[in-house]
């Protein structure tokens, strides 16, 4: 768990972080006709969700180990919605009333081509979900679905995108997820990662900045041998 507390309820994160795959329209479009071919056989209907478990969650300034034999990791720069009030079957119109605040999340993965049934080993390694540096109230930003997002490596910008062009915007995504599972105070729902996520390697210092929310920093180190 990251050492992350904030100035308003729910005060701390719960340890549950839920991410969403292919919620960026250009990222989905880039798959082209492959979505209709095996093994997928159809474009996704429901949000494609995954869990970043508590062993992945680290705070601002963390050192994240790159496993041996893996040359690079992918950095998914994501906006995290921190839930403030239990959300179950909320409408898109009401959804944001259940959000306490916003936080930057770096959703790290070992790059993989297939979205059919990738191993959790690729997304759930220790340290693969830096979160921080702090949770901001919703009032810190003008609109959730149009924030500039920038990833920098060793101080040099490598990826500039936004929180826009989503298949489901923040409110719609929260509403759809809450259609079958309760999101509880302190849970974090990520609103997805833009196409072309940058790759980083051991030795790199990475920062993920989102407009209005500051920047989350972490370093990549070589994993110690077993």
């Amino acid at each position: 768990m990251p050492a992350l507390s904030f100035d308003f309820a729910p005060w701390r994160l719960s340890g549950t972080v839920v991410g969403v795959l292919l919620n960026h329209r250009p990222a989905l479009a880039a798959l082209g006709d492959a979505v209709n071919a095996a093994p997928y056989k159809a474009a996704p209907k429901a949000p494609v969700l995954y869990v970043k478990p508590r062993n992945t969650q680290v705070g601002d300034g963390a050192c994240v180990a790159v496993p041996a034999g893996v040359p690079e990791l992918e950095v998914g720069a994501a906006l995290g919605l921190v839930i403030g009030r239990s959300a179950y079957r909320v409408s898109a119109g009401d959804a944001l009333a259940h959000v306490a605040g916003l936080v930057i999340v770096a959703d790290l993965s070992v790059p993989h081509e297939s979205f059919y049934r990738p191993s959790v080993r690729l997304k759930a390694r220790d340290g693969f979900c830096p979160i921080g540096p702090r949770v901001w109230p919703l009032s810190a930003v003008p609109a959730l679905d149009a924030l500039a997002v920038r990833v920098a490596v060793d101080g040099r910008s490598v990826h500039e995108t936004s929180t826009g062009e989503r298949v489901r915007g923040a409110a719609k995504l929260l509403a759809d997820v809450s259609g079958f599972m309760t999101l509880a105070p302190g849970d974090v729902l990520l609103t997805g990662v833009a196409a072309g996520a940058p790759r980083v390697a051991a030795g790199h210092a990475v920062s993920v900045a989102i407009e209005g929310l500051g920047a989350l920093s972490f370093e990549l180190v070589t994993e110690e041998p077993a």
Partner: protein
């Protein structure tokens, strides 16, 4: 030792078995149906679930599918909001045509595990309990299978009734397990048929993710998964671990 967590008279209590039902930590003895049973783990961490971990279940699902102990385990993750206690009711979605139980041995981690070898793995287990890990097959899509909508619905991961400490389970790979629906046996197997044993799973997982006390591994289900309907009483039982009762009810439409 066996322990449970129950709600009674406005508070949550630890409880142990008693000839007349169960006994609260404060000494009161109560009947099994006098309390509300909660999942038997107080601080629940990561919930790790296995797909296709019984050779017979693999055969049942597909003739082409293979999964052996040489293959990487098929693991997915769930959240604690999906959990439900013994004797509770699970809401069955109105639009589902195929919702089935899965009787599984649940392993509760008691000691931090990182890069643990199988030979040492069971020393990191606090205890075992029974899980009924319902799946709603109608919602299966081929993206990040099985998606949370199939396996992470509120109240569709039933856990309990007792957490049985590891010292009472000398061999977790020699337990009969099975399911009855309305008294009829629909699923019968043995943990001896697991493709990846409990110890092997702890070795595999702890190689890349640190397991911590309160993490739970749901070790997969044997063959015999059939649809269940509203009103069905589903009883999952594992030899020496417990008998977990659940009833399916209709999911009420959202309040206006």
């Amino acid at each position: 030792m066996r322990s449970a967590r129950v709600a009674f008279d406005g508070a949550i209590h630890d409880a142990v078995p008693h000839a007349d039902g169960l006994q609260l930590a404060d000494g009161r003895v109560l009947a099994e149906d006098a309390v509300v049973w909660l999942p038997p783990v107080a601080e629940i961490g990561t919930i790790i679930a296995l797909g296709l971990n019984y050779a017979d279940h693999v055969k049942e699902l597909s003739k082409e599918l293979t999964q052996t102990s040489k293959d990487e385990p098929l693991v997915f993750l769930k959240t604690a909001g999906s959990l439900l206690g013994h004797r509770a009711r699970t809401r069955r979605p109105v639009d589902a045509a195929f919702m089935h139980y899965e009787c599984e041995l649940a392993v509760v981690i008691g000691r931090r595990a990182r890069r643990v070898k199988a030979a040492d793995a069971l020393a990191h287990v606090q205890g075992y309990t029974v899980c009924n890990d319902y799946a709603i097959r109608d919602y299966l899509e081929n993206w990040y299978r099985p998606n949370l909508r199939v396996k992470n619905r509120d109240g569709a991961t039933v856990l309990g009734p007792w957490l049985v400490s590891a010292d009472e389970v000398p061999d977790p790979q020699a337990l009969a397990l099975g399911t009855r629906v309305n008294g009829r046996v629909v699923q019968q197997g043995t943990t001896a048929n697991m493709i990846h044993t409990v110890a092997a799973l702890i070795e595999y997982l702890s190689d890349f993710m640190t397991l911590a006390p309160g993490d739970i591994i749901l070790t997969g289900t044997p063959e015999g998964t059939v649809n269940c309907d509203v009103g069905d009483e589903v009883v999952c039982e594992i030899e020496g671990i417990g008998r977990l009762v659940n009833t399916l009810v209709a999911d009420a439409p959202p309040a206006p």
